[in-house]
């Protein structure tokens, strides 16, 4: 491979990895910060040198407090939503706790409360109470089961509110106190073996051009439609990929589909062969069968202008995916692709419509959905190694634009769009 080709391939996979990283980082930030993110100014009250907050996606689920040189000088957590069921007089409170560099509490503040406002004000202004945790470690606070025993006494006239504040803190810290049980045991089921068989045969049909073997490809395509599609329902889809990016790749519980998906991306990237799209994807194979249904003379040539416009469908669907993910819109990502239709029972109207319309259109314009409207296929095509001369094409420009949009959505406050 020439250097130029290698750089282009590196660029293409890097774009996908960066977009995935942005989605993951945004998800972690939302998971930790929620709808009311802790701000530096709140933390500065207790740590004046605080300059930046960095989301900690680890078990503590808080924020690392960094100074201007990037050194961690503390840690901050909020009690909501973990402690939302701990109510004071009439509602729960969202409490901020800040730890210093020695991992000792150095400040507590009530950020927002659903409790009686006057009680909340009484508690907030009782410095003796609010400083009761100062100097205590995370573990010590998490271990507090009885506030009185720990020497923390409620605020007179707002006892329940203040006790709820104390309990919220202990509960929040204790809820992440336990070590996450890392289950190293791989769970392998028949589905994993079945997916490997599909992958192996897909690779065989892609790379082994033996004529007698290739003549049996129609059998494999039927098996993918019936087996992989209708029976197992294991198709690559945006909803699957986004779920993995946000929630983690389930390689221990579903190793088969993880290997299957990884190979589907790496094979075209490394070899140029669209193994998944061309040989394995049930919907692609179904469209190939649909192509054969109508006589060739019925097929219409697509006007150039329509072809040009149709090329934008998949990238615009990817744009919808990005906007949905970053703005937390109520758009079901399974509905923008036809793959969930293979689940039959659980399929929604949108996904069935996309499947049926895509197939009907492909009767007259062969492989229409695969060529123009499949966002997952677009991604696989984006990273696919090109045969012959390769250059920075329109598709690569679209990749950059999608990356820039992801960056913009990541850095831009959602209020600018949502108000």
């Amino acid at each position: 491979m020439s250097i130029k080709k290698a750089l282009l391939q590196a660029y293409r996979i890097a774009v996908l990895i960066m977009i995935a990283w942005l989605i993951r980082a945004h998800h972690d930030r939302m998971r930790v910060q929620g709808d009311w993110p802790v701000t530096v100014s709140e933390v500065k009250t207790f740590l004046p040198e605080a300059y930046r907050l960095k989301v900690d996606p680890g078990p503590r689920g808080g924020l690392k407090v960094l100074d201007s040189t990037g050194n961690q000088i503390g840690y901050a957590i909020r009690t909501m939503p973990n402690s939302k069921s701990i109510t004071g007089y009439s509602g729960p409170s969202d409490v901020l706790m800040v730890f210093n560099a020695d991992d000792k509490a150095c400040g507590v503040a009530i950020r927002h409360s659903y409790d009686t406002p006057s009680h909340v004000e009484d508690v907030s202004s009782d410095y003796l109470f609010m400083e009761s945790w100062n100097g205590k470690s995370w573990e010590e606070i998490a271990a507090i089961k009885d506030l009185h025993q720990a020497g923390i006494y409620g605020v007179s006239g707002a006892t329940r509110t203040s006790e709820a504040v104390g309990e919220s803190l202990s509960y929040r810290l204790a809820s992440t106190q336990g070590e996450i049980q890392d289950d190293w045991q791989l769970r392998i089921s028949w589905r994993d073996f079945a997916l490997m068989i599909f992958l192996i045969f897909g690779c065989l049909f892609a790379f082994w051009k033996n004529p007698s073997f290739q003549r049996r490809r129609w059998i494999f395509s039927l098996v993918t439609i019936l087996g992989l599609g209708l029976w197992m329902g294991d198709l690559l889809a945006q909803s699957l990929l986004i779920g993995w990016i946000k929630g983690g790749v389930p390689w221990k519980t579903l190793p088969g589909i993880v290997i299957f998906a990884t190979a589907s991306f790496l094979l075209p990237w490394a070899s140029g062969q669209p193994v998944y799209c061309q040989f394995i994807c049930p919907h692609g194979n179904l469209q190939r069968w649909a192509m054969k249904l109508l006589p060739a003379r019925w097929k219409r040539p697509m006007p150039d202008s329509v072809k040009w416009a149709a090329q934008w469908i998949a990238p615009l669907l990817l744009l919808i995916v990005l906007i949905t993910v970053f703005l937390h819109l109520e758009i079901d990502l399974t509905g923008i692709e036809p793959f969930d239709a293979y689940l039959l029972k659980g399929a929604g109207i949108a996904t069935i419509s996309v499947a049926v319309i895509g197939l009907l259109v492909s009767l007259y314009y062969p492989m229409f959905y695969c060529k123009y409207a499949c966002p997952t296929g677009w991604l696989l095509g984006f990273i696919r190694k090109r045969a012959g001369k390769d250059h920075f094409s329109a598709r690569d420009w679209i990749g950059i634009v999608l990356l820039m949009i992801a960056c913009g959505l990541y850095w831009m406050p959602a209020e600018w769009i949502l108000g």
């Binding site: 939503p81 939302k84 009439s90 996450i180």
Partner: protein
């Protein structure tokens, strides 16, 4: 001519994308405004409860509740109706906020109900729904 044809062919695609995105963005914006209004009204209601030692014992629409809270000076009169964008005091045309209490005025319930399906979209009350926070996924 070629670019004109291309642009014309692109219009349905763009319209399709807009039909997917625009309603969802509008819905999200409304959701954020409704949450903010609900929290503001809830806080004012709590202050009223402290003053009167009970919650209002009648069923009230959002507009009537806001009027009551504004009259008692627990709420800013400039509060906007999140569904219309106009002042909540002057505009009762679209109001999906409902309030009720028990006979003793000891508990409150604020609900936002979908105008079409009558499904409860948001709820704040003294018992089961004491916050609008959503559960985090486990760390």
């Amino acid at each position: 001519m070629k670019s004109t044809l291309r642009f014309i062919a692109l219009i349905p695609v763009l319209v399709g994308v807009a039909m997917i995105l625009v309603p969802s963005i509008r819905e999200k914006r409304l959701e954020l405004r409704v949450r903010s209004t609900l929290l503001t009204v809830q806080e004012a209601l709590q202050r009223l409860h402290v003053a009167d030692e009970e919650y209002p014992r009648k069923r009230l629409s959002g507009h009537d509740l806001v009027k009551l809270l504004v009259d008692r000076k627990f709420l800013d009169p400039t509060l906007l109706n999140p569904w219309t964008g106009k002042s909540y005091l002057s505009d009762a045309s679209q109001d999906c906020l409902l309030y009720h209490s028990d006979q003793e005025g000891e508990i409150y319930n604020l609900s936002v109900v979908s105008p079409k399906s009558k499904r409860v979209l948001f709820q704040l009350d003294s018992t089961e729904h004491q916050s609008l926070e959503e559960e985090n996924e486990s760390f």
